[in-house]
Amino acid sequence: MSDAAAPRQMTETGGDAAAIPARPSQSPWRRAWRILRRDKAAIGAFVVLVLIVAACLAAPIYANDLARTDPFRSTLSGSIVIDGQTRKIMEASTTGLGLGTTPIGPTWHWQYMLGADNQGRDVAARLLYGGRNSLLIATAATLICLVLAAAIGTIAGFFGGWVDMVLSRILEVLWAFPVYLLAISLSIVLLTTEFWIGPFRIGSGSLILPIVIIGIIYVPYIARPVRGRVLSLRHSEFVLAAKGLGIPRWRILLKDILPNVTTTLIVYIPIMMALNIVTESALSFLSIGVQPPDASWGTIIQDGQGLLYTRPMVALAPGIAIVLTVLALNVLGDSVRDAVDPRTKLR
């Protein structure tokens, strides 16, 4: 990024810039990148994330070429050969009264590495496919949330007056609802019926639904700080100067305000992704997120709930995946915040 493209934020605090010894100026992005590269925690978190994403992207390779299984097909009557021994995927109890059927446990081979769920499906393969959906939903929902929040927060903060009043009240109404209650209500209403948005049909089990629902419910959480930032920028010297020069408002908004809001938004990306992964898992665990045959880490935990005593790995594996991903995102989020917006470090 060239210096010319850098936000004018530097002038905001540059009242006595003339007194500072001459030194080649460095863009905030370059400075942030330099700080991040030196942050071992950030690099570790980034590597973990890359590994998780890569593993999830490789799900078809794992399922088709290594485990040789269809993770979406029930296999309740089949058997596999492990170390020369034939083992049933679903083993009916033969001891005592002969009650219960237990899915095969972790084999630590490619086939059924982490065992099977109550449908006889390979947990490891489902974990990778489920991760794709969890990450996709979290990423897409984060983007929707940030775009909406940036638009609403910027417009409300910049234009003020009745526009600010209306948008702020709407945000407050949304804010007043407990996040999960709102998400559950929306999911229950939307998941049972298909609907149309213009020419686009949204099916009852579509992945778009959890993406949109999760994206919307967190908008107030981002839009309010964005509005606050815009409010302070609106009265900053460089904006007043731009106004004084007669530059149109839309141009000031796009060229002066938005670039300065970007740092706030970037800081939120990893944190929101972590939050969205947890939210998606919670909704899917409650059967109101991702719908079968699709899987997500939340649906796999739900599948494992009934197997906690006999096959804890079914619930543990996606649980560990969520913990690792969220931890990595949070660590990365902290580092990005420190790098991009050092003033918030002490908050």
């Binding site: 979406f72 097909r73 029930s74 309740l76 009557s77 679903m90 009916a92 109890s93 001891t95 005592g96 009264l97 002969g98 009650l99 219960g100 059927t101 237990t102 109550n118 449908q119 229950i188 998941l191 049972t192 099916g203 009852s204 089990g205 059967s287 719908q291 079968p292 045959p293 709930q305 009934g306 197997l307 906690l308 005593y309 006999t310 096959r311």
Partner: protein, 564 residues
């Protein structure tokens, strides 16, 4: 060693006592032994548990297995299902009536003579007037079965049209002097006694308000009274101070002094509590992952018994692709019922089935049209045939959604069906919705449910309670939440044959059962549903519970077990 011997002795004693008590219940010859058992084991507090309460305790309104079990020891009808073991529990015995009356007027009139000296829990006598008022109340409160079980009583049509002024004039006639109640039916009904033996026909004091009593107890005639009931906490039952045993078969004196039914404990916690001896029994089925542990480590505390029920997948015969017979038959051929048995807990807990009437049920004759080698029993799925049928139907690729309940088993069954439908070439998805709404949701045609997962447990042991209730034209009401014919299947010819079977049953139940067996097969030829498996009931009781008796009608006869 000595502890083992002691345990063995206790177990042997309890087992012997159990057999003894069951035999005692079967007849009056061993009344002395029963008296001795009552003296030895009466007393103590029995603690039961359920994840949630089952709503109102008005016996004429509540329609749940959970509380019908409780009503057995708190209320009585003119007749009742025998409080006895296994299939003996299907037998109907006189209760408040002295005897089962002979049909008169070609099966359209029955005269019951009321026993003398029976009192309600509030101390008032049971009179013929109470009986008439109780039957009027069924209509006045819009009882859930008023239009299906009791609509054949003369005057019922007027009561159904205007409940508030219901008198059942000419339908239920009391003679106080003679102590009799005469029922006049519009048509002979072979199931009349079954219908008046369920809790909805409980006899209540005539002064009982004509509204759902909710959480308030209505005085009954049973061995126990409900002292308190809080659906968010517990129900407490105590001995009825006005109860004197008049029929061991219908309303035997119970063993525990007090029964406490706690609500809110999850299944996993309940299992642990029973293992620790903190509670005595749980209503809900044990979680699947604890079954093996229970069957091996607690085998002597586990009771497995068959249920007159089936799990099935109703297919909407009025919606694509299931409006095509070949598709419905294909689904039936494709389902691996052994796989579903595995989901339910294995072959000890469920039995594959491809017919509607459950085994050992009136009208049941072994038959399976949809298996690898059609005959009397299901052996294996025939996926080849199924795929061929789908191809012939030209429906492959269509979108199909399976609607299941959001419970572990139903969701697993739904997921399996979705997998089968995908294999058959459909774009299949599964939707699990709250158990509170799923049952009504799948009944309403407005929701356009194509295929769903459901279960049916009989109200009383008659073939019509499956076939006529689930698949008659009268049971299909488009746009209603109460359209129990979920498949929306209406076949006038089969309807006519069912009416004939019900008529035949009045005079010749055996011949009627043969007709029902043919009807079962005839319905399955049209395949409006895909029967999946017949479940069994698992009861897990604490160590101290003795004399466990399981009736095929209302399951565990709670008060005939002891805790000391």
């Amino acid at each position: 060693m000595s502890r083992t011997l002691h345990r063995l002795k206790i177990t042997t004693t309890l087992f012997a006592a159990g057999l003894f008590a069951q035999a005692a219940l079967a007849g009056g010859a061993q009344a002395q032994d029963r008296k001795a058992l009552l003296e030895e084991h009466s007393g103590g507090t029995m603690i039961l548990s359920a994840v949630s309460a089952a709503g109102t305790i008005d016996p004429q309104v509540n329609y749940t297995a959970e509380f019908w079990q409780i009503f057995q020891m708190t209320y009585d009808g003119l007749v009742k299902f025998k409080q006895a073991s296994r299939s003996e529990g299907f037998e109907i015995v006189p209760d408040l009536a002295e005897a089962i009356p002979e049909p008169e007027d070609g099966g359209k009139t029955y005269v019951f003579k009321l026993r003398k000296g029976i009192k309600f829990a509030d101390g008032s006598d049971v009179t013929p007037e109470d009986v008439v008022a109780s039957f009027q109340r069924i209509f006045k409160i819009h009882g859930p079965t008023s239009g299906s079980f009791y609509n054949n009583i003369v005057g019922a049509d007027k009561c159904l049209a205007d409940a508030e002024t219901c008198t059942l004039e000419g339908g239920v006639v009391a003679d106080d002097a003679a102590g009799t109640i005469t029922f006049h039916l519009m048509q002979p009904d072979s199931e009349f006694f079954d219908k008046i033996a369920v809790p909805h026909a409980s006899i209540l004091p005539a002064k009982t308000e004509a509204k759902d009593s909710g959480t308030s107890y209505i005085p009954g005639t049973g061995a126990y009274v409900i002292e308190s009931y809080d659906p968010n906490d517990k129900m407490v039952l105590k001995r009825n101070p006005h109860f004197k045993e008049w029929s061991v078969a219908a309303q035997p004196q119970g063993f525990p002094d007090e029964i406490v039914y706690r609500f809110g404990m999850k299944e996993e916690s309940a299992i642990n509590a029973i293992q620790n001896g903190q509670i005595d029994w749980m209503f809900d089925p044990p979680p699947a992952d604890r079954l093996n542990e229970l069957g091996t480590q607690y085998a002597d505390q586990v009771h497995v018994n068959p249920l007159a029920a089936f799990w099935y997948a109703p297919m909407n015969t009025n919606l694509a692709p299931f409006d095509n017979l070949k598709v419905r038959q294909a689904v039936n051929f494709a389902i691996d019922r052994n796989a579903l048995v595995n989901i339910y807990g294995g072959p000890v807990l469920a039995q594959p089935t491809c017919q509607i009437l459950p085994p050992d049920f009136p009208g049941h004759e072994d038959s399976c049209l949809y298996t690898k080698d059609p005959g009397t029993a299901w052996s294996a799925p025939d996926m080849e045939k199924a795929k061929q049928l789908v191809e012939e139907s030209g429906t492959a690729g269509q979108k199909v959604t399976v609607v299941a309940e959001d419970t572990a088993t139903s969701r697993a069954v739904g997921t399996y069906l979705q997998s089968v439908l995908s294999e058959l070439g459909y774009d299949a998805t599964m939707q699990a919705i709250s158990p509170n709404i799923q049952f009504t949701y799948i009944q309403n045609t407005d929701n356009k449910v194509q295929i769903s997962v459901s279960q049916w447990f009989m109200d009383y042991p008659q073939a019509s309670n499956f076939l006529n209730v689930l698949l008659s034209c009268a049971s299909f009401t488009p746009g209603s939440d109460s359209s129990i014919n979920i498949a929306g299947y209406c076949n006038k010819d089969l309807d006519k044959r069912m009416a004939e079977a019900m008529q035949t049953a009045v005079t010749d139940p055996e011949a009627a059962n043969k007709m029902w067996a043919k009807l079962d097969k005839a319905f399955m030829e049209q395949a409006p549903v895909a029967p999946l498996f017949t479940p069994k009931n698992v009861d897990f009781v604490s160590k101290r519970v003795g004399n466990f008796i399981f009736s095929n009608q209302f399951r565990w006869v709670i008060d005939q077990s002891w805790v000391q």
